[in-house]
């Protein structure tokens, strides 16, 4: 039986191969909150996002230094280099009265590791804000989705717990603060 592999060995090899393949498999849907949400927006509203480089964004926004929390000093909220931003500009966001369905599709797009922290909906103007949070080692990953009639922004950023604590005091302003922080030039 030199040339033939014993069935037991073949089974072990197959199991090892399956295990290694499982370890090496690429990230599937529901593992990257940012991309999954961007896709969910594109599919629901039939729109396309733009990834605008930071330098290009610099000229687009007012020259504020950074977001401000509750009237305090301006300071950076996101950990350096952690922010990912997708813009949807000059496009039509109309859920045709199905805003609740969009809310559900965002929830479905995200894995259970993300917790919904704040959700605000104003169907008349199609205005929506969603903030999801998940733990990331010692920090938190925060996903902010802002949608208006003709534009939308998706921001994912890593924030330290002490920053999150400050932001949580005013959950309604939290999304705006983080979006400003990620999109306004320092």
């Amino acid at each position: 039986m030199n040339g033939a592999m014993k069935p037991k060995h073949a089974l072990c090899l197959a199991m090892a191969a399956t295990f290694l393949a499982a370890l090496a498999r690429p990230a599937t849907a529901k593992e990257d909150g940012f991309n999954d949400v961007v896709k969910a927006i594109e599919q629901f509203y039939h729109v396309k996002h733009q990834n605008i480089p930071l330098l290009a964004r610099a000229g687009m926004k007012a020259a504020k230094t950074a977001a401000r929390i509750r009237g305090g000093d301006y300071k950076r909220l996101a950990e350096a280099g952690s922010a990912r931003v997708a813009f949807f500009e000059e496009q039509n966001f109309d859920s045709h009265g199905q805003i609740a369905s969009f809310k559900a599709s965002v929830k479905n797009a995200l894995s259970v590791t993300w917790s919904a922290l704040v959700q605000t909906l104003a169907p008349k103007n199609e205005e929506q804000n969603y903030i999801y949070v998940r733990e990331l080692d010692k920090n938190f990953s925060v996903l902010v989705i802002t949608i208006e009639r003709h534009e939308a922004t998706v921001v994912e950023a890593t924030v330290a717990p002490q920053i999150l604590a400050q932001l949580m005091k005013d959950p309604n302003e939290m999304g705006k603060a983080l979006t400003d922080d990620a999109t306004i030039d320092p």
Binding site: S115, L117, V118, T120, L164, P171
Partner: protein
């Protein structure tokens, strides 16, 4: 002792322990109100706000309230296991029904819950505050604020000092309840 009797005794002991664990778990969870049934109102509402701060998030971030201004908030939040808020604003009157309110009030008639504040009139915002008492401890709180064009439900899980609740006004999505509480104090 006969084996059969010994086994039965063991089984009964295990069953009783399981039952006690279940009862304790149900009691501990009873402070959390079921509010998902209100989600349908989002389709009629001109604005909907939903805030969910669960125990893990509260406890992880609470220790970072380090500013002197935050000392009181930190004190109020000590032991709080969650804050859940749903708020609906409507353009017209009559967009939510008594049945919607009843779906919350019926839960607040369960054992342990007591209405401690009820102020307001049909024309203004009415505020009802309920406390859940587990023995001599407060297990949770609910605030139901209703007006002709708005409805807010706040559910706080864990011990909350009613007198200090006003410190959370405007924070964590908690609406202003101070006036209602002060009116209660006057009545006392």
């Amino acid at each position: 002792m006969k084996p059969l009797f010994r086994n039965s005794l063991k089984a009964i002991t295990v069953s009783v322990l399981l039952l006690l664990t279940t009862v304790a778990s149900v009691r501990a969870q009873s402070a959390k109100l079921q509010m998902d049934q209100l989600d349908v109102l989002a389709n009629k509402a001109s604005e909907t706000v939903e805030v969910k701060l669960d125990e893990h998030l509260m406890q992880t971030t609470a220790k970072f309230f380090s500013d002197p201004d935050d000392a009181e908030i930190k004190e109020v939040l000590k032991g709080v296991k969650g804050i859940y808020v749903k708020r609906f604003e409507f353009e017209k009157e009559g967009e939510y029904s008594e049945a919607d309110l009843e779906s919350i009030r019926s839960q607040l008639r369960n054992p342990g819950w007591t209405r401690i504040v009820s102020v307001g009139s049909k024309k203004e915002i009415s505020i009802e505050v309920y406390l859940l008492q587990n023995g001599d401890q407060i297990g949770g709180m609910a605030v139901l604020a209703t007006g002709s064009r708005e409805m807010t439900v706040v559910n706080i899980i864990g011990p909350v000092d009613l007198d200090k609740l006003t410190k959370l006004e405007g924070s964590f999505g908690v609406p202003p309840v101070g006036d209602a509480i002060r009116q209660r104090e006057k009545k006392k």
